[in-house]
């Protein structure tokens, strides 16, 4: 049991890293990594939203969708749950902790239609994970994404000083860079077999 949870955690953070081997969340990945500060803010918000979103969807999937045979509606239901939760978090944070809201609120708005936030509940449903396994997947994916954001942000800060050919400035060079990091992450494959 514990072993499986740990395996899922490490696999989702490193081996199946969402950015480098499943190619998800690229919009945010390229959008916020121009500055270190924004990437760190995004990492925190993202991991928290991911954990809570995955837990909520797990309860709804196990106790509502499976008993009533609503599995085929999972796309509609999960996106509704995630969007409603993010909206609620936005409103609550604004009222309860305005200071935190002004720091992280902007990232919440970006997260609503993010593919990873939706992918985690979908994978959990597909693999029939238990609550602990789902949480391990969510935490692992969140930390893996944070790792990707922070690595990329530190490289892109250096990139400002580099002499990049004109056609490659902006996104193209970022893609090539991501490819290089992905090459490094390829080394993790085979570390654990699921």
């Amino acid at each position: 049991m514990l072993e499986k949870v740990l395996t899922i955690f490490i696999a989702s953070a490193l081996i199946n890293n969402f950015v480098f081997s499943r190619y998800l969340g690229l919009c945010i990945f390229f959008g916020v990594t121009k500055k270190m500060e924004t990437s760190i803010g995004m990492s925190f918000t993202f991991t928290a939203v991911m954990m809570i979103g995955a837990a909520l969807s797990w309860f709804i999937y196990t106790y509502v969708m499976v008993p009533f045979h609503l599995g085929f509606l999972k796309i509609v239901i999960f996106i509704g749950v995630v969007a409603a939760f993010v909206q609620a978090a936005d409103t609550i944070m604004k009222k309860v902790t305005p200071a935190l809201y002004y720091k992280l609120g902007i990232y919440l708005a970006l997260i609503v239609t993010n593919c990873i936030i939706l992918a985690v509940p979908l994978i959990n449903a597909e693999e029939h994970y238990s609550l602990f396994e789902s949480m391990a997947l969510a935490l692992g994916s969140g930390l893996g994404f944070s790792l990707a954001l922070i690595i990329m942000a530190s490289i892109r800060e250096k990139l400002d000083l580099a002499d990049v050919p004109k056609s490659f400035q902006g996104l193209p060079i970022s893609f090539v860079l991501t490819g290089l990091i992905a090459l490094a992450f390829l080394g993790f494959s085979g570390m654990i077999t699921l």
Partner: protein, 210 residues
């Protein structure tokens, strides 16, 4: 009548070249990199997106006078989710082997920024037929981008096209691995920027920050 025709021409040109979702707007990049390890997967994904965008734009356009502007974004999201579910179930029934590889990405069409942005920017203000044409044109631009990337990666990575081998060796295996997707995308974007600067006098470079 003639003005209508000119309009359609502009819409189509705009979708495929001017605002190509992948290379120009740099939206919805995830599947563009994820499923293009072969031409066939890229093509099927493109067809799925084309279908979803056309139907979503059509539905949004039909309902544009009934949806309260305050809840329009959630409404659009449910319309998109519905059509994605339709696509997902059809794919799962009729294209099993492909679905096994890219089912997750089909489901994630629902989170595509491009679909929502077209519904919001175009379909919510226009009549049925122009909206559907706009959706189809944008989908076509997406499809072309995916096929282009698919050709590039499959030819280099496997030495084949659509599964048919034309050389015996595997010239550059790395192109079909995850990292190759990023390289292919970066090179393709850089190349298109170069063409744009060289032959069309565009600004080239910089390209979308999202």
């Amino acid at each position: 009548m003639t003005t209508d025709k000119v309009n359609y021409g502009t819409i189509i040109k705009n979708g495929i070249f001017g605002e190509n979702p992948v290379f120009r707007l740099a939206l919805s990049l995830c599947p563009a990199v994820a499923v293009t390890s072969g031409v066939k997967n890229g093509f099927l994904m493109g067809v799925a997106v084309l279908f979803v965008m056309t139907m979503v734009n059509g539905t949004v356009s039909l309902l544009r006078n009934f949806i309260n502007p305050k809840v329009r974004i959630p409404s659009y999201m449910f319309i998109i989710a519905t059509w994605v579910t339709v696509t997902d179930l059809v794919m799962a029934a009729y294209a099993r082997d492909v679905y096994k590889q890219m089912g997750l990405y089909i489901m994630l069409i629902v989170a595509f920024a491009i679909v929502l942005s077209r519904a919001e920017m175009f379909a919510s203000k226009n009549k049925l037929i122009p909206s559907m044409v706009d959706g189809a044109a944008m989908g076509m631009g997406f499809l072309l981008a995916l096929v282009l990337l698919g050709i590039f990666r499959e030819a280099l990575g496997k030495g084949s096209l659509w599964g048919y081998k034309f050389v015996e060796t595997k010239p550059l295996l790395i192109m079909i691995m995850p990292t190759g997707g990023f390289f292919a995308m970066g090179l393709m974007m850089g190349w298109l920027n170069w063409i744009d600067r060289k032959f069309f006098g565009g600004t080239g470079g910089g390209g979308g920050g999202h």
